[in-house]
């Protein structure tokens, strides 16, 4: 299982951003997104500055622009929604190229598009510079309930196993000539899902027994405690602080 553990979004590297303790990065990204969301939408230049900030971080982390942009594609459904907004929103209308658009709708579309894109870009940067296990350690360090962290770590560890099991079932179905074409085949797929559930649950029971036999008593021992020095915290929190400055400027101007 060792090799499959690095998730596909992670990009191995040794940059200063990769080296930061995970909880400082998590805190920084979260604070940054909060600041972005609370910026007034009329301050268009502020969002430009935020994008520049993120680009600087990406440069420091040596994440190529193409990689980042490709990951941003997850946002496409919302872009479609935002494009539609000027047509359905109410309020005073303006004529652009012969189309009657709502002013409020245009602002709303801009708002969702800008803030959503910046949020996605920040998360993508976090995921591409932080290893999965580190991320979970960071969450634990940020006082997320240990049980929740354990559940998340089991989900991540066994996600690939379960997905592989599902893939094997699909191959088994297809090798017997099955092809899902419409509603009539839902029964077969649902039976697969049921079988998958039983397999996952039974695997969970086996995992639990294996854990008990290794001395598990309800909590996982923390063997690699992560700590952050003051310098690392201040380095990580530079991003949200600069963003906060921009945000305050955006409100006052």
């Amino acid at each position: 299982m060792g090799a499959g553990h690095a998730h596909r979004l992670y990009r191995h590297g040794h940059s200063p951003v990769h080296g930061l303790p995970p909880h400082t990065k998590l805190a920084a990204v979260f604070a940054f997104v909060v600041v972005v969301v609370s910026t007034p939408r009329e301050a268009m230049w502020a969002f430009g500055l935020y994008a520049v900030l993120l680009a600087l971080v990406a440069r420091h982390a040596r994440v190529p622009a193409g990689f980042l942009l490709k990951r941003l594609l997850i946002e496409v459904p919302f872009v479609a929604f935002a494009v539609l907004m000027p047509f359905v929103a109410e309020g005073e209308q303006v004529d652009v190229l012969g189309l009657s658009l709502s002013v409020n709708g245009l602002w709303g579309a801009w708002n969702v598009l800008a803030k959503g894109t910046l949020g996605v870009a920040a998360s993508v940067l976090l995921a591409s510079t932080t290893e999965l296990r580190e991320l979970l350690l960071g969450l634990q360090r940020l006082r997320l309930p240990p049980l929740l962290v354990q559940i998340a770590s089991f989900m991540i560890r066994y996600g690939d196993v379960i997905a592989d099991e599902m893939r094997r079932m699909r191959i088994a179905r297809e090798s017997r000539g099955f092809e899902a074409r419409g509603v009539r085949h839902w029964g077969v797929l649902a039976k697969s899902a049921g079988a998958l559930f039983i397999r996952s649950y039974e695997r969970g029971e086996r995992v639990h027994l294996a854990m008990i036999s290794r001395g598990y008593a309800g909590s996982m021992p923390v063997i690699d405690e992560v700590t952050a020095s003051r310098a690392q915290w201040s380095y990580a929190l530079t991003l949200p602080f600069v963003a906060l400055l921009v945000c305050v400027l955006g409100w006052s101007l």
């Binding site: 979004l9 979260f30 972005v36 969301v37 609370s38 939408r41 919302f78 929604f81 539609l84 359905v88 929103a89 109410e90 409020n104 709708g105 709303g108 708002n111 969702v112 803030k115 959503g116 949020g119 996605v120 998360s123 993508v124 995921a127 999965l132 991320l135 309930p145 049980l147 929740l148 354990q150 559940i151 998340a152 089991f154 989900m155 196993v161 379960i162 997905a163 599902m166 074409r181 419409g182 509603v183 839902w186 029964g187 649902a190 039976k191 899902a193 049921g194 079988a195 998958l196 559930f197 039983i198 996952s200 649950y201 695997r203 029971e205 995992v207 639990h208 854990m211 309800g218 996982m220």
Partner: protein
């Protein structure tokens, strides 16, 4: 339905975040009661299952396909508390790892997709299982109804959150019709798959279906040609010994409650549809309504179920009824559970004394 950053304003996001944190705290305690120290591996594996099942695509018609949301499925298979935890963890990981759904919108996402779906589904499911005759078929029927109500309920919750703190200027009526209209269709797909899946599991391992644990038969042994009850294992389940009289009275209670809420909901929906929203009417007259219906909730991962303009006044009216029933059942069962817990609490102590 993964909400991105900036779609809901900051104060509302914060409030929903607090709501989500509270609900997760309650479910953590509840899950420990449901699974004790097996919680971490089992809930983790079930979360992995939900994650995998969301990738399983169901073809709807030529070219389009949808996938399962899994809230109702999790609630019925592993119980509401574990269900909430599993779906929340899936959402958290999707937010952090895959940037699917904003980090500040995590509270909104968990509230409407993990909590509302799971709680509504489980309440409806338990209510129906109590009312319907005991058997495997009623488990399937109940899970169908539970799933069919849970998805529009999540849409209603989203509309409510949007109404409080939406950052865009689309009228609430439009958002409601579009969201609920689309999600009723999604709910039907979800319900069919959920019911079939639960049916498949019940057929093979009925003991794994948390919602159907009442159906468990007592183990009986054939000794010298006659059936005798097997001696109870280490611990007898506390709920299994309810007297028959109590069960029938409980069933009457459920039936009355359900009928009353249906009648009430029908009444409300009649008035609701008799007097449509002015803005909606304007929008319909202008012909822009259709666009809104088709795309205004393109945020949903299931939006490719191929939705056409299905929402008219009567449907939305009927929907109000359906949602009304859902809400009433939830509220009613909350009260009912509180009462029953007190009653079983009273019951347990004397038997414990007897046993000693």
């Amino acid at each position: 339905m993964h909400v991105p950053d900036g779609f809901i304003n900051a104060p509302t996001s914060a409030v929903t975040g607090v709501v989500a944190a509270g609900a997760i705290a309650v479910s953590l305690r509840g899950a420990r009661r449901e699974l004790d120290d097996r919680t971490a591996p089992l809930a983790g594996l079930v979360a992995a299952f939900i994650f995998a099942v969301q990738m399983l695509n169901f073809p709807v018609a030529a070219g389009t396909s949808g996938h399962l949301l899994g809230g109702a499925l999790a609630a019925i298979l592993v119980g509401p508390c574990t269900g909430v935890l599993c779906v929340s963890v899936v959402l958290l990981m999707q937010g952090i790892l895959f940037a699917d759904g904003g980090l500040t919108a995590l509270g909104v996402n968990i509230t409407d997709m993990a909590i509302v779906t799971t709680v509504v589904a489980y309440a409806v499911f338990r209510g129906l299982v109590k009312v319907l005759p005991r058997g495997r078929r009623s488990i399937t029927v109940a899970s169908f109804v539970a799933a069919v109500l849970s998805v529009p309920a999540a849409a209603v919750a989203f509309t409510f959150i949007y109404w409080i703190g939406g950052t865009t200027d689309v009228s609430i009526g439009k958002v409601a019709t579009a969201m609920i209209g689309v999600h009723v269709l999604i709910g039907i797909g979800e319900a069919v798959i959920t019911a079939l899946t639960v049916g498949a599991v019940v057929a093979v391992r009925p003991d794994l279906v948390h919602g159907a644990r009442d159906l468990r038969q007592k183990l009986r042994l054939r000794v010298h040609g006659e059936l005798v009850d097997a001696p109870a294992a280490d611990e007898a389940p506390t709920g299994a010994r309810t007297p028959v009289a109590a069960r029938t009275s409980r069933r009457t209670l459920w039936v009355t409650g359900l009928v009353t809420s249906l009648v009430l909901a029908g009444f409300v929906s009649f008035y609701a549809s008799a007097n449509p929203d002015g803005l909606e009417k304007v929008a319909a007259d202008k012909g822009i309504d259709k666009k809104a219906e088709e795309h205004a909730s393109a945020d949903s991962p299931l939006a490719d179920y191929g939705v056409k303009d299905v929402t008219n006044a009567r449907l939305s009216g009927g929907l109000a009824g359906v949602i009304g029933v859902g809400t009433t059942v939830v509220a009613g069962s909350a009260v009912f559970w509180a009462v029953r817990r007190r009653r079983t609490g009273d019951d347990v102590s004397p038997t414990a004394v007897e046993n000693v």
